[in-house]
Amino acid sequence: MAHNTSKSVVLMVATRKGAWLFHGSEARHAWRIDGPHFLGHVISHLVLDPRDGRTLLAAAKTGHLGPTVFRSTDLGATWKEATQPPAFSKAPEGTKGRAVDHTFWLTPGRATEPNVWYAGTSPQGLFRSEDGGMTWKPFSSINDDPQYREWMGTVQDGTPDGPKLHSIILDPRDPAHLYFAMSGGGVHESLDGGRKWSPLLKGLDVVEGFDRSQPTFHDPHCIRICPSNPDRLYQQNHCGIYRLDRPSDQWVRIGRNMPKPVGDIGFPLVVHPRDADRAWVFPMDGTSVWPRTSPEGRPAVYATRDAGGTWQRLDAGLPREQAWWTVKRQAMTADASDPVGLYFGTTSGELWMGHDEGSEWTCIARHLPEIYAVEAGELR
């Protein structure tokens, strides 16, 4: 039996033209809009620090200017720019070094690591801050490791707005255990605090004709760890939906159980805050030339309640036809309330909420810029 135990939920919405906060009422039926912040900036990710429920970090750039990170300790009333944003090491004279185009992903450190944040960039780079996001340094050796550089490929090998390092995941039980993913470049795991990394690719499919043993051909779109069971991960990949139950290193393609006309291609994946058997995806059309729209123009979330054994379509309240938007990999999330609220932002600038685990959808906002990321947090 679900109870309405909702703390004060705030949504962090990052878009191609700025960022917005949406403050939910106690019942999450009304939302107060706060924004735009950074109007005109490309905001790839806006994250609330769950360790204090007040601090925000924003990954920003503009069309003209280089990338940076902004930090607010008063929920966006004032912002301070990083004095040393994520940046690659200067290349030796005569060699061509990489430059960060944008910071794409932000992950707050563990509860036991105050002021620690991790960042993933485009092109692929892994960075860490120990002072709340004001100064950043390359984390581990992968940014310059010859093997990892080969697996990362070139900028031309990546997604249309650049190859990305994303899904930086911290095992909450073990400070030495981390994961990250690269599009392209595969899923990787460290058991020693980030000194050494190994690919974690068994069971994952790649585009037909390519060698699945090579990390460079793998394109994980979104990885999530289950808060209620950190031994379980889910993945939405370029080639299907997967589940991994550790200590096994074998991903299982649970997307094979999706309805065949819909398929199991998409970008975002969301896990339940308290039940590791429940997860949600937002399928897209990955046929022929990859339209990357909702299949047949009929958007829907698909839910599993049995760890991917079966899937149910959730589209009550969503457009029934001729809706061609889709949802990017960071633009779908869940709050931690009971019952769980789901949220997604669309490429057409609409923000939707799925009440009661997605059983009924309502539109919170329209006419925003293209939405890149949606996160839900709880204020303190």
Partner: protein
């Protein structure tokens, strides 16, 4: 010397013009960054390349190298180039 700042960078300088000194463009940008922390990295990447949509003109001539020598009487104009919609 006089430095003309584009609108995209006035959140740092609060003005369309400012002063900075140095014997090269690199030195002037370093001086600017000391006055307005963070401004250099928005214009120049970590490999010391002027960013794709930033242009620098010295006395009306476009300059592409940070090693370009400067005199105290020169005027440096920083421009944001077209970057799409």
């Amino acid at each position: 010397m006089k430095i003309v700042i584009p609108s995209a960078l006035r959140s740092y300088t609060e003005n369309g013009t400012t002063e900075a000194s140095g014997a090269t463009l690199a030195a002037v940008l370093t001086d600017l960054d000391q006055r307005y922390a963070g401004i250099r990295f928005r214009m120049v990447d970590e490999q010391d390349r002027i960013r794709r949509h930033i242009r620098v003109f010295v006395n009306g001539e476009q300059v592409r190298e940070l090693s370009h020598p400067l005199k105290p009487t020169d005027e440096v104009i920083i421009v944001q180039a077209l970057s799409g919609g």
